[in-house]
C-alpha cells in the first residue's frame, strides 16, 4: 500500500473513531439520569459499545503508525479531533439525544457495512465484528424514534423540534473529503456522497412512520468543519473532562 492510500485510510479511520469516541462520551453522560431504569442501562451500554468500537479503530490506526490508542484518545486537543460537530453538541433533553442517536447510528452502520466488503482486510475484519452491535443500536433508535414521533402531540412536537435542530449538523457528517477519490478507486470506501444517499434512503421510511418531516432541501445548510478540526465551543470542555483522569498521570498502569 503506498503512502497516499495509507494517508487516505488513516483520514477515514480517524473520522469514524473520533465520531464514536465523542458520541460515546456524550451518551455516557446520561448514565444515572435516564428517563426509565431499563432505558438508562440500554443507552449506557450502547455508549460503552461505541467507545469499544472507537478503540478498535484506534488500534488499527496504531498499526498504521499512529500513536498508542490511549494517547490518541486522551492527549489530543479539541482542534485535533475529526468528529462531525453533531456528536459534540450537548445532550440537551432526551428528545435531542434520541434524534441524534437515530441520525448518527444509521450513518455509522452504513459506514461499517461499506467497510465490511473493503479490500483493506484489517478494517473489514473490525467492520464484520461490530455488525451485530450496530444492528441492535439501530433497532433501538428506530423503535424509540417511531414511537415518540407518532405517540401524541407533545412527543411529536418535541421530536420534530429536536429533528429540525439536528438536521444541518447531521448533514455535516458527510463533509466532503479530499482523499476519498483514492479510497473509492481502490475499493476501500465508497465515498461520502454515496454514503449520504444511502443514509437518506434508509432513514426516510422511519421518518415517515414517525410522522416527522424533513426540512425542505432548499433550507439545507450542512454544518461542515468538524472533519478539519473546526469545532464548536462544546468540544474543548468535553475533551478536557474525558481526558482528566488519564492526563493526571499518563504513564500510570491501570
Amino acid at each position: 500500500m503506498n503512502q497516499n492510500t495509507t494517508d487516505a485510510i488513516k483520514e477515514l479511520l480517524y473520522k469514524m473513531a473520533d465520531d464514536l469516541l465523542i458520541i460515546g462520551h456524550r451518551n455516557s453522560e446520561w448514565t444515572g439520569l435516564g428517563p426509565i431504569l431499563e432505558e438508562d442501562i440500554s443507552f449506557s451500554s450502547m455508549a460503552q459499545d461505541k467507545i469499544g468500537q472507537a478503540q478498535a479503530l484506534y488500534v488499527l490506526l496504531h498499526e498504521l503508525g499512529e500513536q498508542e490508542p490511549d494517547t490518541v484518545a486522551f492527549m489530543r486537543n479539541a482542534n485535533q479531533f475529526h468528529n462531525a460537530q453533531l456528536l459534540e453538541l450537548p445532550n440537551g433533553e432526551y428528545d435531542f439525544s434520541l434524534v441524534r442517536h437515530f441520525l448518527f447510528d444509521h450513518a455509522d452502520q452504513l459506514r461499517f457495512e461499506a467497510l465490511a466488503t473493503s479490500s483493506y482486510e484489517p478494517v473489514a475484519k473490525v467492520a464484520r465484528k461490530v455488525k451485530g452491535e450496530l444492528k441492535y443500536h439501530v433497532f433501538h433508535a428506530n423503535t424509540w424514534f417511531v414511537k415518540l414521533g407518532s405517540a401524541n402531540e407533545e412527543s411529536h412536537n418535541r421530536m420534530q423540534a429536536a429533528f429540525n435542530d439536528a438536521w444541518n449538523y447531521a448533514l455535516g457528517m458527510f463533509e466532503p473529503s479530499n482523499n476519498e477519490g483514492l479510497l473509492i478507486e481502490e475499493g476501500i470506501f465508497e465515498g461520502e456522497k454515496a454514503l449520504f444517499n444511502k443514509w437518506l434512503s434508509n432513514i426516510t421510511p422511519y421518518i415517515l412512520k414517525a410522522g416527522i418531516t424533513i426540512p425542505s432541501s432548499d433550507t439545507w445548510n450542512p454544518v461542515y468543519g468538524g472533519r478539519k478540526g473546526t469545532h464548536t465551543e462544546h468540544l474543548s470542555p468535553l475533551v478536557e473532562e474525558m481526558s482528566e483522569v488519564f492526563r493526571y498521570d499518563p504513564t500510570a498502569e491501570w
Binding site: 439520569l33 426509565i36 431499563e38 442501562i41 440500554s42 423503535t143
Partner: protein, 121 residues
C-alpha cells in the same frame, strides 16, 4: 441543587428538595418476564423482569439487561400478567413427591446389558 464530585451530576441541576411521592399505578409500565437461551436447542431460562410498554420494547430492554454479559442466542419476553402463578397455599400438593421412589428407574440396572450389546455379544 446537588453538587457532586462528578461534574455531570452537578450540571444536571437536580433539586435537593426532592419530595418523595408514592409511585402511581403503572408509573414504570407493566412488567415482562425475560427468558434467555444460551445455545440453540437449550431450554430458555428465566433471568429476570423488565418494565416496558409492550413486548417489542421489553425485548429491547431485556437484551441489554440480561444479554450484555454472556452470550444469548435468543430471548423470549412474556407479560407477567399472562403468567399463571400457582398459589403458595397449594404447595402441599408437592409434599409427598420425595417418598415415591417406586416411580423412579433407579432400580433398573441395564448399563451392563447395553454395553454387552454394544460389544456385539
Amino acid at each position: 441543587m446537588i453538587k457532586s464530585l462528578d461534574p455531570r451530576v452537578t450540571r444536571a441541576e437536580i433539586d435537593l428538595d426532592n419530595n418523595i411521592e408514592p409511585l402511581r399505578e403503572l408509573d414504570q409500565w407493566e412488567t415482562f418476564e425475560v427468558f434467555h437461551q444460551k445455545k440453540r436447542g437449550d431450554q430458555h431460562m428465566h433471568v429476570g423482569i423488565v418494565h416496558a410498554p409492550n413486548a417489542e420494547m421489553a425485548f429491547i430492554f431485556g437484551k441489554e439487561q440480561f444479554g450484555r454479559r454472556g452470550i444469548s442466542v435468543n430471548i423470549w419476553v412474556v407479560r407477567t400478567r399472562d403468567v399463571y402463578v400457582s398459589d403458595y397455599e397449594d404447595s402441599d400438593i408437592f409434599e409427598t413427591v420425595p417418598g415415591k421412589n417406586y416411580r423412579e428407574a433407579g432400580g433398573y440396572k441395564v448399563m451392563d446389558k447395553i454395553n454387552k450389546y454394544k460389544k456385539g455379544i
